[in-house]
Amino acid sequence: MELNYAYILQSFVNGFLNLWELNIILGMLLGMVLGLVVGILPALGPTMVIVLILPFLFGADPLFALTMLTAIFAVNYTAGSITAILMGIPGATANMATVLDGFAMTKKGQGGRAIGAALGSSAIGGTVAVLFAIIMMPLIYPLVMAMRTPEMFCLILLAMCFISAVTRGSPTKGLMSACLGIVLGFVGFQSSTGAGRWTFGNIYLYDGISIICVMLGLFAFVMLLDMRVSAKPLAPVNLTQANDLRELWEGVKSSARHFSLWFRSTIIGYIVGVIPGIGAETAIWVAYGQAQKTSKHPETFGKGNIEGVIAPESANNAKEGGAFLTTMAFGIPGSMGMAYMLVAFLIVGLTPGPKMVTENADICFAMLQALGITGIIGAVICFFGSAVLLKITRIPPVYLFVTLMPLMLIGAYNANALLTDLWIMLIIGLVGILMYKNRYPFAPAVLGFVLAPFFENYFWLSWNLEGIRMFDSPLCIIFILIAIFVVFYKFFINSCKRLFRLRKGETA
C-alpha cells in the first residue's frame, strides 16, 4: 500500500464529521460523566470502569464504543486533581504530584486558584498533545507500512517485554505475569493446525478462555474486593474554595501565563506516553522535577507554588495523546491502562496495529479528536461543577461494592451467555488475589493473553515463509535488541557500574 496523503486527509475530515452524530455525542457524554465520577472517587480508576463496561460493548458500533472509552480517559485525571487539591487525596495515581503544592495552596486559602490552574493546564496540555498525535499520524505511516509479519512478531515480543519489565516493582514478576497471560491465551484451538491445546477434553475450553473472564477476574474482581479492605468514605470538605469562580478563573489565567512551563510539561507527558508501558506516574514526577529545576523559586515547591500544580497536570493529560498513538498504530499499549483499551479494540472487531491505521484511519482520527474535545469540555464541567462533583466523594464504598459486584457478574455472563464463565471468572479472580497480594502486576498478564494468538500466528506465518531469515530485517533486529535491553537493563547497568568501580580501583 502506498502512502496516500489524500486518504489521510479524508480520514481526518471523516473522523471529525462522524463525531457529530447523535449516538456518538451521547456516548462521549456518558464517557465524560463516568470519567468524572471515577476520577473524583479515589477508590475507582478509569481502568476499573473500562473493564466493567467492556462486556456490554460486544456488537456495539466501534466509533460509539471507542469514543466513549476515550472520553473516560480524557476527563479522569482532570477530575482527580480536584480531590488532590482540596482534600490532599489524589483521585488517581497520576494526580499524586498535584497534592504537594495543590493541597498546600488550599491550606493557604488559595484552593480555588490551584483548581483553576489544574483545569487550565489539563485542558491545554491534553489538547496540545492531541494536536501532536494528529500531526504525527501521517509521519509514522511509512514505518507502519513497512511492517510485515516478522516485524509484527518482533514488535509484539517487544511490547510484552516493555510492559513486563518497565512495570512497577520487580521485572521478574512482570515477566512471570506476562507468561501466565500467554499460557491462558494458548488454551483452546491452535489456529494454524486446528488441534486442541490444554483443553483436557472439555468442550468449554475448546473455544479458549473468554477474554472478559480474564479481565474481570484478574482486575475488576480483585479491585472490588480490595475496595472493601482499603477504601473509606472521604471526610466532608469545605466547598467555599471550589465555588469561588473568580479565584478559579485567576488560576486558569495563571496557567496561561506560565506558557513555557506547561509547554515543556506537555512535551514530557507526550514523550512518556509514546514510550510503551510507562504510565502517567512517571510523566508527572519528571514534569514536576523539571518545573522545580527551572523555577525562579524552587525553595517554595511543596509549600504551595502554582508551578507545582501546572506541571504535573499538563503532563498527565498530555500523556494520553502519546499513549493512544502508540496503541493504535503499533498495537503496543502506551501505558498500563491502554492494555485494556487494546481489548476494547478487539471486542468491537478492530485489530490494533498497522491495519488499524491503514484501514480504519477515520476511527483513529475520531478517537484523537474526541480525546481533545472531551478533555476541554471535561475541564469546563469541572470549572463550573467541582462543588457538585465533590459531593460524590461522600458515597460510602460499601454501596459501590454492592452495586458493582452484580454488574461485574452480569458482564461476565453477558459475553457468551454461559454460567460457566462466572465460575471461570471466580477461579481467575482467586489467582488475581494471590497475584495482587504478592505484588504481581495485572497489565502484563492481560496483554500476554490478548497478544498470545497474534504472537503465535505471526511467528508461524513468518517461519513458514522465510525460516530463520525472518529475523534478518533491520526493523526486526532493532526490535529484538531493544527487547533484550529492556529486559536486561538492570543487569547491564550493574555490570557497567562494577566494571567502572574495578577500573577506578586499578587506577587508584
Binding site: 515477566l175 512471570m176 499460557v183 494458548f186 491452535q190 493446525t193 460499601v398 452484580p406 479472580g429 482467586l430
Partner: protein, 162 residues
C-alpha cells in the same frame, strides 16, 4: 514478614507446579506447531519462578540474620494486618460465591436485590436504605436489560437451562 514470605512461597510453588504440568502436557502433543510456543513460554516462566524463589530464600536468610526486637514487633503488626486483610478478602470471596449460587437458582433479577439487602444489612446499614438501594438497582437492571435486550439468566427454578 514471615507471613508474606510463606504466602509468596506457596504462590511460587503453585506457579512452578502449574507450569511444569502444562509444559509436560504440551510435550505430549505430536505436532511441533502446537507444542513449540507453549514449551518455550512454560520454560521461560519456570526459569523466572525458580529465580524468584532463589531471591526470596536469599533475602529471607539475610533478614533472619538481621533480626532484632523492633523487627519482631513490626513483623507481628504486619502479620496481624495481613491476616485481617486476608479475612476481609475471604469474606468478600464467599459473598461472591453465594451471589453466583443465587444467580444459578433464582437468576440475576431476583438475586441482585437480595444480595444488596442482605449484604448491606449485615454490614450495619439501615433496613429501609438497603431496601431502597436494592429496589433502585433492581429497577435499573430490569430497564437496562429490557432496552439493551441483554439476556439475563432466569435461574433454574424459573426455567433457566444450565
Amino acid at each position: 514478614m514471615k507471613g508474606k514470605l510463606k504466602q509468596h512461597y506457596y504462590f511460587l510453588a503453585i506457579f512452578i507446579g502449574l507450569m511444569l504440568f502444562l509444559g509436560i502436557y504440551a510435550f505430549t502433543y505430536t505436532k511441533l506447531q502446537v507444542k513449540l510456543m507453549p514449551l518455550i513460554v512454560c520454560g521461560i516462566a519456570l526459569g523466572l519462578a525458580v529465580n524468584e524463589l532463589r531471591k526470596e530464600l536469599t533475602n529471607h536468610k539475610k533478614k533472619e540474620c538481621d533480626d532484632d526486637t523492633d523487627y519482631v514487633q513490626l513483623k507481628d503488626d504486619t502479620d496481624t494486618n495481613r491476616q485481617s486483610d486476608l479475612r476481609i478478602y475471604t469474606i468478600g470471596f464467599i459473598w461472591t460465591i453465594g451471589l453466583v449460587l443465587a444467580i444459578y437458582l433464582v437468576g440475576f433479577l431476583i438475586s441482585t436485590p437480595l444480595f444488596i439487602i442482605l449484604y448491606l444489612m449485615t454490614h450495619g446499614r439501615r433496613s429501609w436504605s438497603s431496601v431502597l438501594i436494592a429496589v433502585i438497582v433492581g429497577a435499573v437492571l430490569f430497564t437496562v436489560s429490557y432496552f439493551l435486550q441483554l439476556e439475563m439468566f432466569p435461574g433454574i427454578l424459573f426455567g433457566g437451562i444450565v
